[in-house]
């Protein structure tokens, strides 16, 4: 099982280099989330490289909202995301599998009873 936090999408980013002695292209990877309009959640749009958060936001604007696709942006360092392990997928999500009583359709209600 994976215990170290790993980026959600990237396998490559690893630990980003220290910016001080980083070669420019060692810029860390950022995940970009876009709120497409008020009332909706931010949704993952993709990723990009940037030296810092401010530049990541600017790059995200240019890359993911060229056609007014967003009213708000989040950028998160990919390395900060902890993801569940795909190998354990079944075991990890299994507890929900045998609990159909968590769904309203589990219950039988007599004909003619409304607003329930």
């Amino acid at each position: 099982m994976t215990t170290t936090p790993r980026p959600a999408e990237s396998r490559a980013s690893g630990a980003p280099a220290e910016a001080a002695d980083a070669r420019p292209t060692d810029w860390p990877l950022w995940e970009v989330f876009v709120r497409s309009r008020r009332g909706l959640s931010h949704t993952h749009a993709g990723s990009l490289h940037a030296p810092d958060a401010e530049m990541a936001l600017r790059n995200a604007r240019d890359l993911y909202t060229r056609r007014s696709e967003g009213v708000s942006l989040w950028v998160v360092p990919s390395a900060q995301i902890t993801a569940s392990s795909p190998d354990e997928k079944d075991a990890f999500f299994e507890p929900a599998g045998d609990k159909p009583y968590r769904h309203p359709t589990f219950y039988e209600i007599p004909e003619g009873v409304h607003h329930l």
Binding site: E9, R11, A12, A19, P24, L63, S85
Partner: protein, 316 residues
């Protein structure tokens, strides 16, 4: 014969089942090494094509005939840069770094579509590229939106949405020229004459010579054969050319009632292979320009990194 560890056999079975069920493979899933390397090669080549493809059109930005056309062309070229970035991101999820990919492009170890090794001689070429080159790209790319690898498929969805403007602006540009003066009409026709055959080559070698096709189809990276997509493109273009009042430069192009498709002349694959080998009209120019842009942009990247370090805001 290689022996496969039982654990790997189980992983391979899970992979096969996921692909067979039309579900997507995601970055952290186990995948066969050959699937990974095929995707890296294809996505990288695709990404390189997007950014090299900025050059032939950017050539005309300063000489666009109106502010409207100039703004449109800048937006299109900027989109192509964006497409490159979506695709480099997708490739990175497979465990390659962007550095490595750019390096391979700059040293000629990875390719880009050979269509971009042709020159843009007149303003009408901007129209012909939008209509035919982006059109062929769309025909290729729409099925890739259902590619078995999730990040690539998602990148393609974004790209395809943006491409339709590219094709339409090119078509409108050609239509304007075609309906203009005799000289403008002739310019449009000349551009179509030069771009038609290279556009058909964009679908790759014929099926019986295409080395990677069968495996890519089995992995559902690819959904249709090269020849199938090429035929689809020809059939789409014929009525569009008619509406433009322009002809396609192929005397053998004719509707075949029995097949329900257009027959068309044979493609000069010698030319294709020559351009691929590096002997096209602009191969050297494109790659030199790309390298120079990268080198000359180094100080900007360094300054941004230094600024981030100084203010302690580097993403970690």
């Amino acid at each position: 014969m290689t022996t496969i560890a039982p654990e790997e056999a189980a992983q391979e079975a899970a992979f096969d089942a996921t692909v067979a069920a039309e579900e997507r493979i995601e970055p952290r899933d186990w995948m066969p090494e050959a699937y990974r390397s095929t995707l890296v090669r294809q996505i990288a080549q695709h990404a390189h094509s997007e950014i090299i493809g900025m050059q032939p059109e950017a050539n005309w930005i300063t000489r666009a005939p109106s502010l409207r056309r100039k703004a449109i062309l800048m937006a299109k070229v900027q989109d192509e840069a964006g497409h490159g970035l979506y695709l480099y991101s997708a490739a990175e999820t497979l465990g390659t770094s962007r550095d490595e990919l750019l390096d391979k492009l700059h040293t000629g170890r990875q390719k880009y579509s050979s269509i971009f090794n042709y020159p843009t001689l007149t303003w009408a070429d901007v129209g012909a590229i939008g209509w035919l080159v982006d059109g062929a790209a769309i025909t290729n790319q729409v099925p890739l939106c259902r590619c078995s690898y999730g990040p690539y498929a998602r990148a393609m969805v974004r790209i395809c949405k943006e491409e339709s403007f590219h094709q339409r602006q090119g078509y409108e540009l050609l239509l304007t020229l075609s309906r203009g003066t005799d000289a403008q009409h002739a310019m449009a026709q000349d551009a179509v004459n030069r771009w038609w055959w290279p556009s058909l080559m964009m679908f790759g070698p014929p099926d019986d010579e295409s080395s990677h096709s069968a495996q890519s189809m089995a992995w559902k990276i690819k959904r249709h054969s090269n020849d199938e997509l090429r035929q689809r493109f020809v059939d789409i273009c014929v009525p569009q050319a008619e509406a433009l009042g322009l002809t396609l430069p192929d005397p053998d192009l004719v509707w075949n009632e029995d097949r329900g498709h257009h027959d068309f002349g044979s493609i000069d694959w010698t030319e294709f292979r020559e351009v691929l080998k590096g002997n096209g009209p602009c191969n050297e120019q494109r790659i030199n320009r790309r390298r120079r842009a990268h080198e000359e942009g180094a100080w900007v990247r360094e300054a941004a990194a230094a600024h981030a370090a100084k203010h302690g805001k580097a993403g970690r």
